[in-house]
């Protein structure tokens, strides 16, 4: 971002700044002089640290987005969310059953969902949040895990929810239940673990470890490649 490009005027936490056109909210704040500590993380849309509320010129709506992925425009009013004080119930995943009873016990608020779809509208990942909450209400863990898979836990859904549900924490529970209990298991994995425990490959690997560089190079370049 260089100084000789077109500038736009934005408000950061109520203060007015001129920043380069095309900046993301993070870039705009740094350009304005902020050394960010909260509301910033991976800067690539994968960590959920930079949930931000903003309003655009001549619009009354307060929208949500990720500061690292949202481009500023002239007249935008920006407020970053430093922390989401949402409840995170503690559980032992080994003691749970992958069904509706677990959801009832750990996330009873899920059943308060009024299907208003505010969470889905708030999601910067375009996840069907309401649909996965509805799936959890029906005890459909698989569907909830699938629909919520791309959640990065920015917290915007929970902050906007009128029924006080912490959707993203319910999502990780659904994902873990599915991964641990419901996904089809793969006997080949167990077999290989056992083979390694039994020392099946030790001799072969030791042989490679003992090779001089020349022989190892030759073995490497002559190895059979079987990929698809």
């Amino acid at each position: 971002m260089t100084e000789n490009r077109m500038m736009v005027r934005v408000q950061i936490m109520g203060e007015s700044y001129e920043v380069p056109e095309g900046s993301t909210i993070i870039m705009a704040m740094e350009y304005a002089g902020y050394q960010l500590k909260r509301g910033i993380g991976c800067r690539e849309g994968f960590c959920g640290a930079c949930a931000t509320l903003y309003r655009e010129k001549n619009d009354y709506k307060i929208k949500g987005g990720l500061a690292c992925q949202t481009v500023v425009n002239d007249g935008m009013v920006i407020a970053q969310i430093p922390f989401v004080p949402a409840e995170k119930p503690v559980y032992d995943i080994n003691e749970l059953t992958p069904d509706i009873n677990t959801i009832k016990a750990i996330f009873p608020t899920v059943f308060r969902c009024v299907a208003c779809n505010t969470c889905t509208k708030a999601c910067p990942q375009d996840i069907e949040v309401m649909d996965y909450i509805q799936a959890l209400k029906r005890g459909n863990i698989e569907r909830a895990a699938d629909l919520s898979f791309d959640c990065i836990r920015c917290g915007l859904c929970a902050l906007r929810c009128p029924a006080e549900i912490v959707q993203y924490n319910a999502a990780i529970l659904a994902q873990r239940l599915y991964g641990k209990y419901l996904s089809k298991k793969n006997p080949q994995l167990d077999k290989r673990v056992k083979e390694i425990e039994d020392g099946k490959y030790i001799e072969e690997i030791n042989e490679l470890m003992d090779m001089d560089r020349e022989k190892l190079t030759e073995t490497y370049y002559n190895r059979e490649i079987k990929i698809s």
């Binding site: 740094e30 910033i40 800067r43 994968f46 995943i93 641990k180 793969n186 290989r192 673990v193 079987k226």
Partner: protein
């Protein structure tokens, strides 16, 4: 959307696509010849950024004194501490724990879980939040030799060949042998891996691998793993405590030279606190935010090489810190996402790299350093790249080919993160190729460890990207995710065992800072040069000129 002149070049890509598709259906990924040992050597020495003039220089202080390291690392090591030992009363301990974990990415959290399970009390301290790490951002996959036609032996060969045979053999042995068990451990914690309908793992190949062994969680693999580890840490509040927004700024030794504690600094309240521990696990991640050689990076905001600095100051030896990984496919357009990761899985699924004329110019699955060097050659010497409006150059990664090879819907199902990332800027990667160029991605080297994650400093363990030796001078894709779990778990177990065995801790000391700083001062280095820098500095110069009373200690924090 792409400007018109780029769309002209895309037309050429579309013209060559049917021919390339036909070839691909016939030969799979083998549509362009692999490089020989000699060809790899040539393209690396001529085009890899590590070999450019000024890329490396001698470090003049500390345990690796006299060795040639990456310039930015040598410079950073020749710096002062943010604290003065005389300001600290080490008889007054703020936190005491069995195992101290520094950094909360996947390696740190995996180590914490294992140490807790082994009966130790664990304290995690981290610069930002739990899970804020490069681990969380990994997209493509995690390697493990669990398939029928594969073996840990083949995996070993791929890893050590990819690392140019420099890797520490015992570490490669540990990496490949713990692979399948690590996948099992993750699945039992509730990680969801991509599978075929019969329950078998859906595996793809990565650059430089001889078998399909890349397991994935869509293109959110790092997040798919890291978020589960974090949830489990949250679920063990009695055994694992954590402190966020509190980077370590120095390690504490005792009078026997053991690592026995750390000084943390709270980024917001600016208080320093003293931690005493029986064992310490360093898992602070890598160095992308140093922007080595001016490159953009795929790395997390906090990736500023802190662990390297802290370990080096107490005498820990570094290995392969002369080598930097540039990921071949970083985004070049649009400008808002320059340097962002375009996962290797895109090529694993069949996308081909092509130049401005839509021509193939390299085998798509060379090891990363070789592939990246070939991209740089195409853009510089051979001038077949595409220049963006802001003056950057890139080559096309022909993503629409994926759905044509693997069937409609493959991109949506396997690359939702990528579709979303480019979609936010009106580029549909199902229809249009992605413009890419190498981006700073990974710290190949680090603090030297053995297969128990021990260093030459008793009590100091290292796991993950901060460690050196596992990957030699070039890591292959998917092996870092495996590294985090394998060595995170080993560090956790060994650090916990040491703590459980009863460590005799002597008198706590920060004297090593004086010794180190004396070496730095002898070089006439400006007293204002401070490390670790903790966060990168992106404040523009015209603002800095007005920050008349602000103090920059590394950065403005």
């Amino acid at each position: 959307m792409y400007p018109d002149y780029m769309l002209e070049s895309i037309k050429k890509v579309e013209e060559t696509r049917p021919g390339r598709l036909e070839k691909s259906k016939k030969y799979g990924k083998e549509v362009f010849p692999h490089m020989t040992d000699k060809e790899r050597g040539e393209v690396l020495s001529k085009f890899h950024p590590d070999y450019k003039e000024g890329a490396r220089k001698e470090v003049r202080v500390g345990p690796n004194k006299g060795e040639i390291l990456t310039t930015e690392i040598s410079d950073l090591l020749e710096s002062y501490s943010r604290i003065n030992p005389k300001d600290f009363n080490l008889d007054k301990i703020d936190y005491e724990t069995d195992v101290l974990v520094i950094g909360a990415g996947s390696a740190g959290m995996a180590s914490a879980l294992v140490a807790a399970k082994n009966g130790s009390n664990v304290l995690i301290v981290t610069k930002l939040r739990l899970g804020d790490s490069n681990s969380m951002m990994a997209e493509g996959g995690i390697q493990a030799a669990d398939q029928r036609d594969d073996s840990p032996t083949m995996h070993y060969l791929d890893v050590i060949g990819g690392g140019h045979f420099d890797n520490k053999p015992e570490l490669v042995h540990a990496l490949v042998s713990d692979g399948p068990e690590s996948i099992k451990w993750l699945e039992e914690l509730g990680v969801i891996f991509d599978k075929n309908p019969d329950g078998s793992m859906l595996v793809k190949s990565g650059g430089g691998t001889s078998r399909n062994r890349m397991h994935s969680c869509r293109d959110y693999t790092g997040a798919g793993i890291c978020r589960v580890l974090r949830d489990e840490v949250y679920n063990l509040p009695d055994k694992i405590k954590y402190i966020e927004y509190s980077p370590v700024v120095e390690l504490i030794l005792d009078d026997n030279g053991q690592a026995v504690g750390a000084v943390i600094y709270h980024l917001e309240t600016k208080q320093y606190s003293i931690i005493k521990a029986k064992s310490i696990i360093m898992s602070t991640g890598g160095f992308g935010r140093l922007h080595i050689r001016g490159f953009e990076t795929t790395n997390h905001y906090g990736a500023t090489a802190d662990g390297i600095i802290l370990g080096y100051r107490v005498g820990a030896k570094l290995l392969f810190m002369d080598s930097v990984q540039y990921h071949p496919t970083g985004a070049v357009y649009p400008e808002q996402i320059v340097g962002f990761l375009c996962t290797e899985k895109i090529r694993a699924l069949g996308a081909q790299p092509v130049n401005a004329d839509g021509e193939l110019f390299v085998y798509a699955m060379e090891p990363r350093d070789v592939e990246a060097s070939a991209f740089i050659r195409e853009c510089t010497e051979w001038k077949n790249g595409i220049t963006t409006p802001s003056g950057l150059c890139g080559i096309w990664l022909d993503s629409p080919l994926i759905d044509q090879i693997e069937g409609q819907g493959t991109i949506d199902k396997n690359l939702p993160g990528m579709v979303r990332q480019f979609g936010r800027f009106d580029i549909d990667i199902r229809k249009y190729p992605m413009l890419v160029y190498p981006t700073l991605h990974y710290q190949n080297g680090g603090i030297e460890i053995n297969d128990k994650c021990e260093t030459n400093i008793p009590g100091l363990y290292v796991a993950g990207e901060t460690s050196g030796g596992v990957h030699g001078r070039n890591r292959l894709m998917g092996n870092s995710q495996l590294d985090l779990i394998v060595f995170g778990r080993r560090a956790g177990l060994n650090a916990s065992k040491r703590a459980n065995n009863g460590v005799k801790i002597g008198k706590l000391s920060l004297e090593h800072i004086y010794d180190y700083e004396k070496e730095v001062a002898d070089l006439d280095i400006n007293r204002k040069k401070i490390a670790p820098i903790l966060l990168p500095d992106y404040i523009p110069e015209h603002v800095k000129q007005k920050q008349i009373t602000a103090e920059y200690f590394g950065t403005l924090i």
